[in-house]
């Protein structure tokens, strides 16, 4: 039987690591301005808003669990300073944040796009006059 403390440490490490990796992959893919992937990502959030909505629902749930957990711990901590109650709600918060990172970055959808992009001649990049126009307009 594993103690709850060690379980909490391992599970928070695992969930936060997955969330970090998902958002890091997204960051590295969007790093180059007006690259093929960054324009494709913006098109995908416009064409499939449901995935984005679900992502922000899970981010709301993460904030909600965090707020509820710490409000209750705040009241408990006046009498019991070493309350472990926040660890229980933090697991839910980390789980929701991991779901947010996965839905937001959409890393589970990448393989399909790669397959279509690698099939051959129709790999026309969507960048072009539109991006040049926005770049010129901003300056």
């Amino acid at each position: 039987m594993i103690s709850f403390d060690l379980f909490y440490g391992v599970i928070s490490m695992a969930l936060n690591f997955i969330a970090f990796i998902a958002l890091l992959i997204l960051f590295l893919r969007l790093r180059v301005n007006n690259s093929r992937y960054s324009v494709l990502f913006i098109y995908s959030i416009f064409l499939k808003p449901k995935r984005f909505t679900v992502a922000f629902l899970s981010l709301f749930l993460a904030s909600f669990f965090l707020a509820v957990g710490y409000i209750i711990s705040f009241w408990i901590s006046f009498s019991v300073p070493d309350t472990p109650f926040w660890e229980y709600t933090n697991i839910l918060t980390f789980l929701s944040f991991m779901l947010f990172a996965i839905f937001f970055s959409g890393i589970y959808e990448r393989k399909k796009e790669d397959k279509y992009a690698g099939t051959g001649s129709q790999t026309a990049t969507p960048e072009g006059p539109q991006n040049d126009a926005t770049r010129g307009g901003s300056k």
């Binding site: 403390d5 060690l6 909490y8 440490g9 391992v10 928070s12 490490m13 695992a14 969930l15 936060n16 690591f17 969330a19 970090f20 958002l23 890091l24 997204l26 960051f27 969007l30 790093r31 301005n33 007006n34 960054s38 324009v39 990502f41 913006i42 098109y43 959030i45 416009f46 808003p49 449901k50 984005f52 909505t53 922000f56 629902l57 981010l59 709301f60 904030s63 909600f64 965090l66 707020a67 509820v68 710490y70 409000i71 711990s73 705040f74 901590s77 006046f78 300073p81 070493d82 926040w86 980390f94 944040f97 990172a101 937001f104 991006n131 926005t134 770049r135 901003s138």
Partner: protein
């Protein structure tokens, strides 16, 4: 591990109480911002009006999306230091290593939620007009 920071009015204020109060206030703020973003996105699920900003200004929206790396790095460090603290034992005066890891995890947790609220506030400014 309890650090008393203030005595008076017949009670003792702990450091954990202050941190819990701060985190609950910031958590409520974060829940408000994300609920506004979520309601705006869910309300305009068919016409996608809030997402036109992201289509019309691709470079600015890529910057907004890339900002989520700040809370991601911080939450990763929270996980690392939480695991290190649980492996090194209970934090106390005789176990300074565990205490250092404990307070480092606390600090990065505070940084995570503050960075997350900053990013959410930037999104909230674009989304609130569509409520």
């Amino acid at each position: 591990m309890s650090v008393k920071i203030l005595r008076g009015f017949g009670m003792v204020l702990q450091l954990t109480t202050v941190v819990f109060g701060l985190l609950s206030v910031v958590g409520l703020l974060s829940a408000y911002f994300t609920s506004v973003i979520f309601i705006a996105l869910a309300k305009h699920n068919k016409d996608r009006a809030p997402l036109t900003y992201f289509m019309l200004k691709p470079e600015a929206s890529v910057y907004e999306i890339k900002l989520f790396i700040l809370p991601a790095v911080a939450i990763f460090l929270v996980g690392v230091f939480t695991l290190l603290q649980k492996l090194s034992g209970t934090p106390s005066a005789s176990n300074p290593t565990a205490s250092i890891f404990f307070y480092t995890a606390y600090t990065f947790g505070l940084f995570t939620i503050l960075a997350l609220v900053y990013v959410e506030y930037r999104w909230y400014r674009h989304m609130k007009r569509f409520l």
